[in-house]
């Protein structure tokens, strides 16, 4: 480990961190450094400072403190039985990298995770030390996302929550059974207890203290988690079921779905397929329908085959095609809940429709200007001067939305 340059450590420890999908830097407390006594600010929404060619945004300096790890989780690049090169940052190195990157406007803040070394407490306490130094010595006011280690001591979690904006802990796989198979040393029950603990601390921090002062905020940007998709045999219904449970039980801000991707020096126990990116995308769409469009799990899964979402069509369209009796919807009369169920309409389009139709009735072209996709919505709505006719009942309706067939290659 000695003799590695900062640059080679950075290469190893960011390579090791890239399988964590989260890069959000939004939704924390608003703060800035206009007073000249610190560095950094946090506004409502996050900023993506760069994009890598994998289409993922780079908003935070996402690194591991170390990729040494005593666990042997089959899907993980850092598992103990892998022969990838190992490195470890010192506290000062992480602090310096964060500050230097931030001052050049490369990043919104730090996403610090780590392999588990020595013991959970020792690892967590090193991580907390980094964050404490950033906040208290460097007066850093940017965003900090900290991975928590499941069975770390409560006082470490407490301090982590006061210093960081977001805490997260990954459930990794959708079922306890697959955890047992691929990450036998991790205890899913313990992970759930850790998330429950963060929720309770967050709620406790909302109450005023007995003197009437506000308690210091605990992880103001909430907690999130990640599930790996496609490593085990779980179907989409199981995955979405688990995330619904997680959202409701622990008030998570986000559940990230990460398509299982080939890793260097992988184990023979897992299939090295190209990552199921479309499936990942469909899961995110379904996740959004569940949280912002008033769908419930049963409805989304009802459009699925063998419990898996249709890869060719987005889940709302798949649902609409199976529930044609609901359509066509009259744009000028239908209520918000129903409009949200029209394929091709987003939350913004719907609120624009609602605010405009208070004054006049809406035509086909209006919806296009409001940002609705009439190519998708057309067969499912009526508007002034627009009726889909028998379109909604045609047997070929589905094929209108399918991606064009591809000519097979001769060679």
């Amino acid at each position: 480990m000695t003799g590695k340059t900062l640059e080679s450590k950075l290469a190893i420890l960011s390579d090791a961190a890239k399988y964590d999908a989260s890069c959000a830097s939004s939704g924390s407390t608003k703060r800035d450094s206009r007073d000249g006594k610190g560095l950094g600010s946090n506004q409502g929404s996050g900023i993506c400072h760069a994009y890598a060619p994998d289409g993922r945004c780079i908003s935070l300096l996402k690194i591991l403190m170390t990729n040494f790890c005593i666990y042997d989780c089959a899907y993980c690049i850092n598992r103990v039985s892998s022969n990838v090169p190992r490195a470890r940052f010192s506290v000062d190195e992480v602090v310096r990298l964060t500050i230097d990157f931030y001052r050049r406007n490369y990043i919104e803040g730090l996403f610090l995770s780590s392999g588990v070394i020595r013991s959970p407490d020792a690892t967590m306490s090193d991580m907390v030390q980094i964050v404490r130094k950033l906040r208290e010595e460097e007066n850093f006011r940017g965003y900090i996302h900290l991975k928590t280690i499941p069975d770390a001591a409560p006082e470490l979690i407490e301090e982590a929550g006061r210093l960081a904006d977001r805490l997260s802990i990954n459930v990794e796989l959708p079922t306890d059974a697959s955890m047992k198979t691929f990450a036998s040393e991790k205890n899913p029950g313990q992970i759930r207890r850790a998330m429950a603990d963060v929720r309770l601390r967050k709620e406790a921090a909302r109450d005023k203290t007995h003197t009437g002062r506000k308690a210091p905020k605990f992880a103001p940007a909430g907690q999130s988690t990640q599930m790996i998709i496609g490593a085990d045999g779980s179907n989409d219904a199981a995955i979405l079921g688990e995330s619904t449970r997680l959202y409701s039980s622990y008030q998570l801000k986000r559940v990230y779905y990460s398509a299982f991707s080939p890793i260097p020096d992988s184990t023979s126990r897992l299939p090295l397929i190209s990552p199921p990116l479309v499936r990942e995308h469909r899961l995110y769409q379904a996740d959004w329908l569940l949280r912002f469009y008033g769908f419930d799990l049963k409805e989304i899964v009802s459009g699925a085959r063998d419990g898996n979402l249709d890869l060719d069509l987005d889940p709302k369209l798949a649902w609409a095609l199976k529930h044609r009796e609901v359509f066509p919807v009259d744009i000028n009369r239908a209520d918000r809940e129903l409009l949200l169920r029209v394929p091709g309409f987003g939350v913004k389009t719907v609120s624009r429709i609602l605010s405009t139709r208070r004054y006049r009735s809406i035509r086909y072209e209006d919806v296009v200007r409001m940002g609705g996709s009439m190519k998708k919505a057309g067969p499912f709505v009526t508007a002034q001067g627009w009726s889909p006719g028998g379109l909604i009942d045609t047997a070929q309706l589905r094929s209108r939305f399918l991606p064009p067939p591809q000519q097979l290659s001769l060679l």
């Binding site: 800035d32 450094s33 560095l39 760069a50 994009y51 994998d54 022969n83 809406i362 209006d366």
Partner: protein
């Protein structure tokens, strides 16, 4: 016709002021020609405009916000478009909420693209350090080419973010300067030569390493980071190579044969085992869990783990050292020579072994092969420590009233030390949870004693210890029995 020039600096506030003045004079959009400092004057610009009655109207708040953003758009028609829409609002104020209106849709589109330009500026400005790293206020500078006139409305973001350093952002039209906490603007400049910055190399390293070659999605990248910005982004220079090599890198990962775990893995596994919390599970599952144990390397050479046997409600728990050659083969504790000796003495002492729970401190046989024989080796403290987890699980399950510890290893596993067992034998020590432990030697010690007289003496002591165990169990059982009756 009135010609109004809206200045390049302070554009939004100036337009707002001018528009208010025009409404006061009742000037319709057709009476005004709007221009900026760059636009040329039109042919009829200087003809006097017809005065009309002042317009009294309440301008909706959302229009003010819209105008404040659209004013920074690069379209020369922006001022005229805004005023024309404002003029329509005086008779139909609800138009501001009519997202289907063509003109509003156009203005909202302009607003969106200015906001996007601002957002991209916040994201893609890249500072280089131009001062000394150790200065009390460090100094940085950046060159940026925005699509719209967005430096002015966006500069405050940088002032809020980088409050403790001096910085300047140079664009072709304007320069924003932040010195000692004061923000000011100056005319634009040509692209300045900025000194090399060592952190930039680290940033490129980070950019290359965080990219996952197995999930190439170039379009997703370019839609959010359009190529027009690439020339001022240091990291963009690495993109073509990353894309070109990605398929080969992904293939190499898939083709690579699985490797053997490094030597370190075994050590880490032991470390992990030491930190695992207590075993939890149904009692029927315990023997199976012990059989599956890989907490220490002993499992690699042994035939099988040997869990304890006996009634789960036994009052007496007997803890030996570890399975021997015979026990390892049979999978049962105390069946080899030492076990047979134990049985003989126990019978003489009146101890009924089948009523006790019999187990070992370490569950796997540790030995060194010597020709066709396996020579017993004493487990070390690490192995005892790992296996204590199972012993604790068995204790938690059986909840014995008395534990009989045979030999130094059992003493160490239970009390923390195995020292001085010959002096401690025959004494009772208390565990943290209050369970009494009676210490005795291990029967294999008796088998190994060369001097017949000494062996005779130790055998007698051992028998006395076993007898004492029987008596203690009886006394403890009677006491709890009395307590039970008292409680009943």
């Amino acid at each position: 016709m009135r010609h109004i020039i809206v200045p390049d600096f302070g554009t939004a506030a100036a337009w707002r002021k001018a528009a208010r003045a025009c409404l006061n004079e009742g000037l319709s959009p057709a009476d005004i020609s709007w221009g900026s400092e760059q636009t040329e004057r039109g042919l009829f610009d200087d003809q006097p405009a017809a005065a009309a009655a002042p317009v009294k109207m309440t301008v909706p708040r959302s229009f003010v916000e819209l105008a404040e953003t659209v004013c920074w758009h690069r379209d020369p028609d922006r001022f005229a478009r805004l005023y024309a829409f404002l003029w329509r609002l005086k008779d139909a104020p609800h138009l501001i909420a009519d997202r289907g209106d063509t003109e509003l849709a156009h203005l909202r589109g302009m607003e969106k693209s200015v906001r996007r330009c601002q957002h991209k500026m916040k994201a893609f400005v890249r500072f280089r350090e131009i001062g000394n790293r150790d200065d009390p206020r460090r100094s940085f500078a950046a060159w940026f080419e925005p699509t719209h006139h967005t430096l002015e409305p966006t500069a405050d973001f940088f002032a809020r973010r980088f409050g403790d350093m001096d910085w300047r952002i140079v664009t072709p039209e304007k320069t924003a300067i932040f010195m000692n906490g004061k923000l000011s603007f100056a005319p634009g400049q040509a692209k300045p030569e900025l000194p090399d910055d060592a952190s930039e190399a680290l940033w490129l390293t980070y950019f290359r390493s965080i990219f996952n070659p197995a999930r190439l999605k170039v379009q997703a990248m370019t839609s959010e980071m359009p190529k027009k910005y690439w020339k001022n982004l240091p990291e963009a220079a690495t993109i073509p190579d990353l894309i070109a090599n990605a398929p080969a890198r992904a293939r190499a990962m898939a083709d690579a044969a699985p490797t053997l775990p490094p030597v370190r893995a075994e050590k880490a596994r032991q470390q992990l085992a030491a930190h695992m919390s207590a075993w939890e599970g149904p009692k029927e599952a315990l023997p199976a869990a012990i059989h599956a144990c890989t907490r220490c390397p002993l499992h690699q050479n042994a035939t099988q783990a040997v869990p304890g046997v006996g009634p789960l409600d036994a009052a007496l728990m007997i803890v030996g050292e570890q399975p021997g050659d015979q026990e390892d083969l049979a999978g049962l504790p105390f069946v080899g020579p030492a076990g047979q000796l134990f049985d003989r003495v126990a019978e003489a002492a009146g101890l009924r072994r089948q009523e006790a729970f019999v187990t070992n401190a370490v569950k796997h046989f540790k030995f060194s092969p010597r020709g066709k024989r396996r020579l017993h080796q004493r487990p070390n403290s690490g192995e005892i420590e790992h296996c204590r987890w199972w012993l604790d699980a068995e204790r938690a399950l059986v909840k014995p009233k008395l534990i009989l510890a045979l030999g130094a290893t059992a003493a160490e596993a239970l009390t923390g030390t195995g020292a001085d067992i010959l002096r401690r034998r025959g004494t009772v020590e208390q565990l943290a949870d209050g369970t009494p432990v009676l210490l005795a030697v291990h029967p294999s010690f008796l088998l190994r004693l060369p001097d017949p007289a000494e062996r005779e003496r130790q055998m007698a002591l051992f028998e006395a210890d076993l007898r004492r165990a029987v008596e203690m169990v009886a006394a403890l059982a009677a006491r709890t029995g009395r307590q039970d009756m008292a409680a009943g």
